[in-house]
Amino acid sequence: MKILVCISNVPDTTSKINFTDGDTKFDTNGVQFVINPNDEFGLTRAMWFKEKQGATVHIATVGGPTVEPTMRKALAIGADEAFRINTEPTDGFSVAQQLAAVVKDGGYDLVIGGRESIDYNGGMVPGILASLTNMNFINSCISLEIDGTNVTAVREIDGGKEKLSSSLPLVVGGQKGLVEESDLRIPNMRGIMMARKKALTVVEPVDATKATEDKKFDKPAPKGQVKLADSVDQLVDLLHNEAKVI
């Protein structure tokens, strides 16, 4: 089984978010970048398929040379080979087209991406990619088992979960649950050394059309001072008469 894990390079979850150039760009100054958490759950599940079922695991990222440290980390976690599509990601629609070209060339059985990236929150790349490559698609996937070409998966639904059957080739939008938080791997020294020698191939982008453009950003309005209640009586009174939420 040949697996491609699509990895987005995103600001660390603890990052404070600021904008620059007249609020038209995300300010990367002082921000540490990491593997998108939803992608990392997928990558870790892919490592399980590699170790238990002999799968080959490749990764792909759309971005300029600055994304390579994040890609090397994915290689240090255990991916075999990496492809960097050499163009700045603009919107999910065009990123999916770039990844589709890699998927078609590579003949992958399983493609795992994150349910959404934690920066632009588009949540569309895996689904559009599945359509463009005519593969099955399961989103918000929290459990994935593969036997031959048969797939058994569980996806999250509002208020519960749904068990699904499907077949390879398949694209998955992954998230926490694919593996547990405690299963995530911190690369060790040997992994980091080996990752330096693994192939990281730079692929030139295909012609892609973008569909959306973020023209301007703003930050949420600052929060007013919290009102501390001295008793539950006062709290219930405030929630009823002032906030009018109960």
């Binding site: 979850t13 978010i17 995300f26 919107d91 569309m124 501390l228 209640a229 219930v236 929630l239």
Partner: protein, 322 residues
């Protein structure tokens, strides 16, 4: 040309968000001087959409579509977009709809902007305000394609009554030409209880509860309020509560009217995930807990004393106020 809205139903009845997305579609249609057509699947109360500005419902009646299937639903919605010559498609932010939205985007070569929080900034160019950076910011996103898809955030726009004469057309499903071997095997869902996605009130608890055995009072408080229960990331990582309850940046977003956080200190990732809630209440014994800076109301006190008192007080309150 019209605005098409996908109104979700469950066992024939519209979900709460159906009226919210219908209201949003009506607002967009007004800006564009056109009308709203809704598409629904096996719905039995189509006329009710007329109260929220919808003038026509296309109800896809097909036993094969009783259970949600992203590919099949996307095919029928795409067909309705073509038959009504819709240029704008309005969707909700439910898990099911976020599953089909990218498939629809690809089928229609239509740009998709999810998590939209208010009526469009403008319709020409078509620009919407949406949350980004996991609620730490907003993006004003311009959709440049001929057909535009807008995903409306839960509980952001609200349902607005707007009586409109309505007609209903029943059609069969459109067959899906894309690869789609994915089938539902089993659905495991809590019935008759509010979910984090659509609850008006969410009661959430963190490590301050000391152990899973102490969740009885959290569930009781949620019951009294008719609320959904949620938890912080450490609590779900420790296995005290199921993953489905984890709210925050890598868990579920919360956009309820009232969010009550008990024994949650308020890590930046958690605050981001719940920031769309309208009123936030914090109960924590540490007055320095960061959550107090992001909350509207708070009580500094031991959850094990405050929560039982709050349950009793709310029971009395409910008895008096019906």
């Amino acid at each position: 040309m019209s605005v098409l809205v996908y109104t979700e139903s469950e066992q024939g009845k519209f979900k709460k968000n159906a009226y919210e997305v219908a209201s949003y579609a009506a607002a967009v249609a007004k800006m564009m001087d056109t009308t709203v057509t809704a598409i629904a699947f096996n719905s039995s109360e189509n006329e009710s959409l007329g109260d929220y500005g919808v003038s026509k419902v296309i109800n896809v009646k097909d036993d094969a579509l009783t259970t949600f299937n992203a590919g099949s639903y996307a095919s029928s919605i795409a067909e309705a977009v073509k038959s009504t010559d819709a240029k704008v498609v309005i969707l909700s932010s439910s898990t099911d709809t976020k599953y089909l939205a990218p498939l629809l985007s690809a089928k229609l070569s239509a740009g998709y902007a999810p998590n939209v929080v208010q009526a469009p900034d403008s319709t020409s160019p078509f620009t919407v305000k949406r949350t980004a950076f996991s609620n730490k910011g907003f993006a004003h996103t311009q959709i440049d394609t001929d057909i535009k898809i807008v995903g409306v955030s839960n509980n952001a726009f609200g349902a607005h009554e707007n009586k409109t004469a309505i007609s209903v057309e029943e059609i069969g499903a459109t067959s899906d030409t894309a690869t789609n071997d994915t089938k539902s095997v089993e659905i495991d869902k809590v019935v008759g209880k509010a979910t984090i996605a659509d609850a008006d009130i969410v009661v959430s608890a963190g490590r301050g509860m000391k152990g899973p055995e102490n969740w009885g009072m959290i569930e009781e408080l949620a019951d009294v309020l008719g609320a959904a229960t949620a938890c912080s990331k450490p609590v779900s990582d420790l296995g005290w509560r199921p993953h489905g309850e984890h709210v925050g940046q890598t868990g579920k977003p919360v956009a309820s009217n009232l969010y009550i956080a008990i024994g949650i200190s308020g890590a930046i990732q958690h605050l981001a995930g719940v920031s769309a809630s309208k009123t936030k209440v914090v109960i924590n014994n540490d007055p320095e807990a960061p959550f107090f800076k992001a909350a509207d109301y708070g009580i500094v006190g031991d959850a094990f004393e405050v929560v039982p008192q709050l349950i009793e007080k709310l029971k009395d309150f409910k008895a008096q106020n019906g």
